[in-house]
Assembly symmetry: C2
Homo-oligomer: 365 residues x 2
């Protein structure tokens, strides 16, 4: 399957997730308007915010479901599955809304972040600085998004797929998401740059904050929805972890070596944002004391220059930090291919997953 | 049943909720420690925070369960019910943690609020102002508390009470809690004092932010756990709403007319905090233009004096605002008693609920 074919495949799933989200949020708008004016307004903001995302996680839920149940259901995905996929996207939005408050990010998915939207509203009405109220309203909006996700799951997925499977999904999500919360705490703390992260610290962040949450959980959710046996779900959790760590490592590489023209965002944001990536970690570990001094200086700077980025790029190659990360990626890619081939699914789906994996490694944006 | 008996009854339930919380959080400490050091630390902070509360909501879940299933189960509450009660208390803590960030409250349940605990940790380590990081860590801690609640529910309540009933509970909670989120948005906005709340606005806040969440949901949860029919659950939702609005109205009265010696907290915090209570609303509505001017002045002041409080007390009586609130309380008490008598439960439990209601009306702290 070609890249173009893969994109189309995933977009097709994405559109189904978007439709489910839209009709659910529209229905809830009427109900929440009866509480107060913020209710209907929130559901509209959430609709715009959720559907502006790539809906990758929801799409992976549906792909995995179809992959494991194709023969049994003749390609017809139950509406309960789409509700679970849409619910997971709402949870993803909940996390992004809260993350943007912590990072004070004003832009997300090509639009003002949710708390910043509220900050602007408060400022327009009161004429005073609305940062604190904007953050407060953003916390509430994130919380409400999460409860909307749980309603969608408990109502529509239960109706379509039965309470027992739905409960398994809730158990999976809640276990994984308390870990995401704890990993995010580590990330907030590392943002103060008062403790150097160890290799194990960074890998734990990659596993729990990104990899399992982005790939393992959607895979496992699709697997539960398809009624798979536990060992299959477990195999997909493990496979997802590797997909996700590769994804994060490639992300770090693109952030330093990418071309703004292709990525559509500035280069060196990890340096500027003082993110403790594995690439930065190896760079410091492999550097000579002389290099290390200059690197540390750059890491501490408030404003990173083009020259700083060029220096870090050069040293990342020269010290062997980039090679080390590349080796990790290739090792995990090989492990993933082996795991992928052992899955009890049709060749067609192995090819799709292989494409997702290959694209994850070679992508430039 | 005497007041002393009621206290003992509720404390007995509270201890069971506390034990369930403690053993669950202890078990999770080991697992979350494997993510990073914040994990085990968080579970211990949550244990202290949750068990320092009065655990009223969890106790009401168990009381209602026993009330509706006493004859069938001979007074033995299934462990799955205790897990649901403990999960609801964890959700309550999640909401308090986020509320304290929005209100910048540093004290809760006789200890530093969670985000303030983290702020202090960050400040000790970095030597710089840790307000923003403390708030970020608090948001994560709240989120994690919620997912721990969902795990407790999906794992232990499902095991004890079956997935179908557990899903009904999740549906109830998620529907009610997205309303709480939207009501809280209104509250955050009213905190800016740039819009006068209408009577309907305030009643909506009382219903959705306090009453249903504090009484209706615990009642309905216990009812679902006992396997009651939908009309019984619905009757309890309605009864809980009245209990809760009375509770809030009495709270407002105590805040203005209480004795610090009895309440253990300063008088007039609603005035100081610019809270739009129904008492303040009637006070302004019934006041003459002359009174209204002085009242508005006091509401806008940064620091409320003893004299201001004395003036507001006097005018609240003189304008008839207090009488109006008292009449509402008595009307709702009568309605509640009628609803209570129609419940299909033993006299013993009607007496207990009647005691809770009577205490709610006459309490002075």
């Amino acid at each position: 399957m070609e890249r173009r074919g893969l994109d189309e495949e995933l977009s097709r799933y994405g559109r189904r997730v978007a439709r489910t989200l839209e009709s659910f949020l529209e229905r809830k708008a009427h109900e929440l308007e009866s509480v107060n004016g913020w209710g209907g307004d929130l559901t509209e903001r959430l609709r715009q915010f959720c559907t502006a995302g790539k809906l990758i996680r929801g799409s992976l839920v549906l792909l995995t479901h179809d992959m494991l149940s194709f023969e049994r259901t003749a390609g017809v995905t139950a509406p309960g599955c789409e509700a679970a996929a849409a619910a997971y996207e709402l949870i993803h939005s909940f996390l992004l809304i809260h993350d943007d408050i912590m990072d004070r990010d004003r832009l997300r998915r090509g639009m003002p972040s949710i708390h910043y939207q509220y900050q602007k509203i408060v400022e327009r009405i009161t004429g005073t600085n609305g940062l604190h109220e904007g953050e407060g309203l953003g916390i509430c909006a994130g919380d409400a998004a999460l409860f909307l996700a749980l309603e969608l799951l408990s109502c529509e997925t239960t109706a379509g797929c039965g309470p027992a499977n739905t409960m398994k999904i809730l158990l999976l999500w809640s276990r994984e998401l308390s870990r995401v919360g704890v990993a995010q705490m580590q990330d907030v703390f590392f943002g103060t740059r008062h403790k150097e992260a160890s290799e194990a610290d960074i890998m734990s962040l990659y596993r729990f904050k990104t990899a399992r949450y982005t790939f393992s959980v959607p895979f496992a959710t699709g697997s539960i929805l398809a009624g798979s046996d536990t060992p299959v779900t477990q195999a997909l959790l493990n496979l997802g972890e590797r997909f996700g760590v590769i994804y994060q490592l490639v992300d770090d590489r693109i952030d330093l070596f990418g071309e703004a023209k292709k990525t559509g965002k500035p280069i060196g944001t990890d340096l500027q944002g003082k993110k403790q990536t594995l690439l930065h970690y190896y760079l410091q570990r492999f550097a000579t004391p002389e290099q290390k001094r200059r690197i540390s200086e750059i890491f501490r700077k408030d404003r990173i220059t083009e020259e700083d980025i060029a220096y870090i790029r050069r040293e990342a190659v020269e010290t062997g930090a980039v090679r080390r990360v590349e080796e990790m990626i290739l090792k995990m890619k090989k492990e993933s291919e082996k795991m992928l081939n052992a899955l009890p699914v049709k060749e067609e789906y192995k090819r799709i997953l292989g494409e997702i994996l290959a694209h994850g490694v070679t992508r430039e944006s």
